[in-house]
Amino acid sequence: MSLRDRLGRLTGEGTQPGRSDPPGELISELRRRIEEVVNRRPVPGPQAHSGRDRTGIPLERLVTGEEVRTPRGGLFFSRSVLAGSHRHGVFRVGDLGHIDMRSAALLAGSDEIAAFEPGHALFLDTETTGLAGGTGTFPFLIGLGWFEGDSFVTTQLFARDFSEEIPMLCLLDELARDRRFLVTFNGRAFDLNLLSARFVLNRMEDTLSNMPHLDLLHPGRRLLRHRMDNARLTTIEACVLGLTRDDDVPGYEIPRRYFDWLRSRDGSLMEDVFRHNRLDIVSMAALLKHLADLVAGGPGRESAHPGDVLCAARLHEERGDTQTALSMYERIAGSPDSRVAISALRACSLIYKKASRWEDAVLIWEGMISRDPLDLFAAEELAKFCEHRRGEFKRAALIVKTVLEGSRTLSPEERSSLEHRLNRLARKSSAP
């Protein structure tokens, strides 16, 4: 008996020895059950794009591009150029390349990048056969982008089959050698990891992993997440870049499209995937521009979202640039968004305090208390100031007492800390 029959029977399908094969309509049921055993997962229903029965439209007719040869074989290569006057959301393509590289370096958390020019950037995004990761996930489409003068160039390397992987990686390697650093969105955890595995699997040198790398996911999340439901690229596009995609192919559909392509060679399956990938690349350039401007505090500062500026200021402060941070905090301290304003005021006051600019700090704390006498932060800071720097124990006690008696939101720890302070103040003020 063939292995196939034995496998079929292991599923518990009701065939018996000596009986003829199941009738035609049962075969699909049998296959489904084998599939279940084999996959231990429900089989997806028929796909909207099952290319099997279609007449395939050649890819070349739908996507600008052609076969190119490398010493290790051919692959499909597409290149397109966006002119400076082209608009991507609220941005003009010609403006995207004007990036302050110190800001880019700050976003990347890597000083190396400050020495480069925007034209050295290689934007990279891959489309893959799945999100699972590991050696069995195949990046079949590699999208690249870079600035050339006023224009933005995107190129796409497509492996029409697994056999075109090596030529695709060779060409990637060659193109990457012309650039100095990488820009991705979640490339650190995903795209680069995957490409690295492919280089190893094909016994090739992995040049990409050694390039400096600006992954926009982390700074993007850090600066923008506060006003978005998630930090996906499409969400950021809609919220920040002013771009909505029509008829975009959903990411989860892409692997299935490629598997169907492998069988049918129908170019219409891949057309949307190429567009999706190209939009991702251009959006990364726009996002880099947006984030770099935000942290630079340069032109367009009036229109910047105060919450974003707050996040940017914190980033500067964390990286030790107190001066830039302070000027950003000061800028938004009068913001109509009271949550942002209070955070900025607190941050300013702490920077003043650290620099012993006591008058400036006290001014802020007193302002905060006059607006809200129960403000715990301002009360504690002002009480500390009065107690330790002025010896005004009675005033300090009054401030603390007001909060203790009035506030309904204190945690037990906060309450006991205030009580402790109040007792000490009471002792000090009664002492001779």
């Binding site: 292991l10 518990g12 996959n39 231990r40 799945g130 598997f259």
Partner: protein
């Protein structure tokens, strides 16, 4: 209150008349001298100094032989007793090689995370004293993400488990390039654990490991350790699929141990009922713990852990108030924190008694206990010695007591001390070419590296299987290579240890708004342990199952305090699909082949604590589970049975009793867990089956319809089958050993002191019917007649 030392306690015990009546054997294993050899000359001075500082001034003879063989690049399997210094046999050559060639990498595999952690600490200690830059890490599900990269690149010795190798390491082998390219040693401890399903999977994981190593140009040496089994070398060779040298003459000295085989007294001779093994276990454990003798009790099921823990907690709650963990339960399904607390309590002797399943059998560090009580035979002689070894690993005199339960396997062991002490008759079997198992691993292997034309993987026709997977759309073929072409991550789709990797989470809903997860139950056990209205127990707290939601894989429970527990009832039927071999003995037909098994949980019994009375029944409505597997069976034609002049019901009872006996003996012979095999009587069509109802046995044609169809149209058949889809390879072995099975059953049943059948021979008379024993013996007469 004055307490007795273990020695005094033993003296008192041995002068106790009632104890002597029930102890079938009291064996004093004397301390013995070791046999030694000097360190090989090539051992690094620093390494030798560190070992000498730990008191190892010379090697045991088996250690010297093993390290020399490993040094020469031979694959080795080491079979020596607990505490004979097995770890040194691999740590020494591995560390030596790393000192000489710092690029060297080694992979250590342990069956559990806990063992891996323990081993890591030991190697760590050695390296710490060695003051060499050698890095050892455990890599498992608990390893933090940020530590993983460093481990992949820098770990000289990576300690992990087969499951992690399967799902976490091999499918990401490019990240482990450094390890695989320099992999010189693979250490596989507790080799005998890898038998049956687990072993069949592991063989395939090793096929994948060797395939990935070949890709990076490595060819590691395997060093395996195993407990005593009948075929260690053969088993190692089956797992590794290469030649292996056996080292089995221990040079280690032995500490003194008293080993007692204990058969509980018969309380009802007519029904052949012995006292439950839990009763003497409770008494003896209570007495030992009361004398401050730290004791571990092994039971054979999770349920028994809970029952016995509750009994012992009851005993000590009054005596030692406020120490809730003076006695603790310990089993799989407890959450990790609780387990760590108990392990620590044992080491610090704040926990003086622990009741466990075999979860503590392996080398998890719980310190040196003094006494070990096994309430029930653990299923294999190998496991028995391992469990007994938990007492007195390094300490002086220790005690081990094996208390038999009322089943044929236990009875056979305690009544045949010679069999137990003199031989290791148990064979480890694997069937790595079980099609389902093989296919899963071919998928995982294709995910790891594309398959190439002409490659081999397992003993089946690989090209045909690849083409099959290609047709399924899982693989894509281009230029004579098969590439993984699916979104999924195939290693996640199969668990190495159970049939179904799914778990059911047990949720305590006692407090509204504060639902807590209290345990996890594997998919198959869920049907029998957390069905609607079951009583589920954790740390001897009872929970009533309000609802089992199979779709969401959750069981919702509430705390209750009732005086009973529940035991599920299932029915099974078998249909023959294909016979592989057949022979006749007289007119009895003996066969093995492929079958379809259908099983359904139909109800449960409520059983009262302490008295074990049956206090009620309930229905359970869960889906039927079908399984295709391999079986051994024999058919006794009606015209032959007619000679016996027994009523049909009596014949059915006799066959059921015989099947019960054969199932247990079969499991003992092939070293299967009793649950790895199952039994059924029916005919070969699967059209009738026997249903065990609340009152008596019915022969029914369709599930749920209790009608008696005693037609002459079928011939009664006894099936003993592999309880895993596709089979594990026990069936052909049983087919070959049919005569041995029949004569063992004959001797066990005919020498059993009961009158009408009991759990020790054909099953409890109340369950199998009053005529089962006589009928079974009569049928055996037919089987033995030429």
């Amino acid at each position: 209150m004055a307490t007795l030392s273990l020695k005094e306690w033993l003296q008192r015990l041995e002068s106790d008349r009632r104890f002597r009546e029930n102890a079938t054997s009291v064996t004093h294993i004397p301390a013995s001298e070791g046999s030694y050899a000097p360190y090989p000359v090539w051992v690094h001075k620093g390494l030798k100094a560190v070992l000498e500082k730990r008191g190892i001034r010379r090697l045991y003879s088996h250690q010297a032989r093993a390290v020399e063989l490993v040094r020469q690049g031979r694959d080795v399997v080491l079979v020596t007793p607990t505490a004979s210094g097995k770890t040194l046999c691999y740590n020494l050559p591995v560390l030596q090689r790393i000192l000489e060639e710092p690029e060297t990498r080694a992979l250590y595999l342990f069956p559990t995370k806990a063992l891996a952690n323990d081993q890591m600490h030991e190697v760590h200690g050695l390296i710490g004293e060695l003051k060499a830059d050698i890095r050892t890490f455990t890599y498992d599900g608990d390893t933090p993400d940020d530590a993983r990269q460093a481990i992949r690149k820098q770990g000289h010795v990576v300690v992990t488990n087969p499951d992690m190798l399967h799902t976490g390491i091999l499918p990401h082998h490019t990240k482990w390039q450094k390890l695989f390219a320099n992999l010189r040693y693979v250490v596989v401890d507790e080799l005998h654990i890898y038998r049956g399903v687990f072993g069949s999977h592991l063989t395939n994981v090793f096929r994948r490991l060797k395939r990935v190593c070949r890709f990076y140009g490595a060819d590691p040496v395997f060093v395996c350790c195993s407990a005593t089994v009948a075929n260690p070398r053969e088993h190692a060779q089956n797992l590794l699929e290469k030649e292996v040298v056996l080292v089995d003459e221990s040079g280690a000295p032995r500490a003194e141990k008293t080993f007692v085989l204990f058969n509980p007294p018969i309380v009802n001779r007519e029904l052949g009922i012995r006292q439950s093994a839990l009763t003497p276990a409770r008494k003896i454990a209570g007495d030992l713990i009361g004398n401050h003798i730290q004791t571990i009790v092994f039971t054979t099921s999770r349920l028994n852990v809970e029952v016995l823990t509750r009994y012992l907690k009851d005993t000590f709650r009054a005596k030692i108030p406020g120490r809730d963990h003076y006695v603790a339960g310990y089993r799989g399904g407890y959450l990790p924190n609780l387990r760590r607390d108990i392990e620590k309590g044992l080491r610090e002797r704040s926990v003086m008694g622990v009741v466990s399943t075999n979860a503590l059998e392996l080398g998890i560090d719980i310190g040196d206990l003094e006494a070990c009580i096994m309430a029930g035979y653990p299923g294999t002689i190998a496991s028995t010695w391992q469990q007994a070894g938990r007492a007195g690993r390094r300490a002086g005199h220790s005690l081990a007591i094996l208390i038999a339960r009322s089943n044929p396997m236990d009875q056979f062991i305690v009544e045949h001390p010679d069999y137990f002490f003199s031989r290791s008759p148990e064979h480890c079997r694997v069937n790595p070419d079980n099609l389902l198992i093989l296919l899963h691993h071919i998928k995982s292997a294709a995910f790891e590296l594309p398959f190439e034309e002409g490659e081999r993987f397992g003993k089946e026709d690989l090209m045909e299987l690849l083409t099959y997977l290609e047709d399924k759309g899982v693989l894509h073929r281009v230029d004579q290579r098969w590439h993984w072409a699916a979104e999924s991550y195939p290693a996640d789709e199969v668990s190495l240890r159970t049939v179904n990797p799914e778990n059911v989470v047990v949720v305590d809903t006692t407090e509204t708004g504060n639902h807590r997860v209290i345990a996890e139950v594997d998919w198959d056990s869920a049907f029998t342990t957390v069905h609607d209205d079951a009583i589920y127990m954790v740390e001897s707290q009872q929970y009533h199952v309000d609802r089992l939601d199979l779709e969401r894989k959750k069981a919702y429970v509430k705390k209750v305090d009732v005086d009973y527990y529940t035991d599920a009832m299932t029915y099974t039927n078998v249909r023959v699909i294909d016979g592989f071999a057949v022979r006749k003995r007289g007119s009895v037909i003996i066969e093995h082949g492929e079958v379809q098994v259908s099983r359904k949980v139909v109800g449960y019994k409520k059983i009262k604590f302490y008295t074990s009375e049956n206090v009620g029944y309930g229905d359970v409505n869960l889906p039927q589970k079908d399984m295709h597997t391999t079986s051994y069976w024999f058919t006794v034609p009606w015209d032959l049975l007619d000679f016996l002049e027994l009523r049909r019901e009596e014949l059915i009872d006799g066959l059921a009793g015989l099947a019960y006996c054969l199932h247990h003996i079969a499991a003992m012979l092939v070293m299967a867990d009793i649950r790895d095999l199952d039994r059924c009587i029916g005919d070969k069509s699967g059209e009738w089956f026997v249903r065990y109802g609340a009152d008596r046995r019915l022969i029914t044609a369709t599930p749920g319809q209790p009608m008696n169809v005693m037609e002459n149209a079928f011939d009664p058949t006894v099936f003993v089958f592999d309880a895993y889809p596709g089979g594990i390879g026990f069936s052909d072995l049983l087919y070959e050993r049919h005569d041995e099975l029949v004569s063992a059953a004959q001797s066990l049943i005919s020498s059993c002191p009961c009158e009408h059948g009991c759990p020790m021979c054909v099953g409890p008379a109340l369950e199998v019917g009053p005529s089962a024993k006589a009928s079974a013996l009569a049928i055996l007469g037919l089987l033995e007649a030429p």
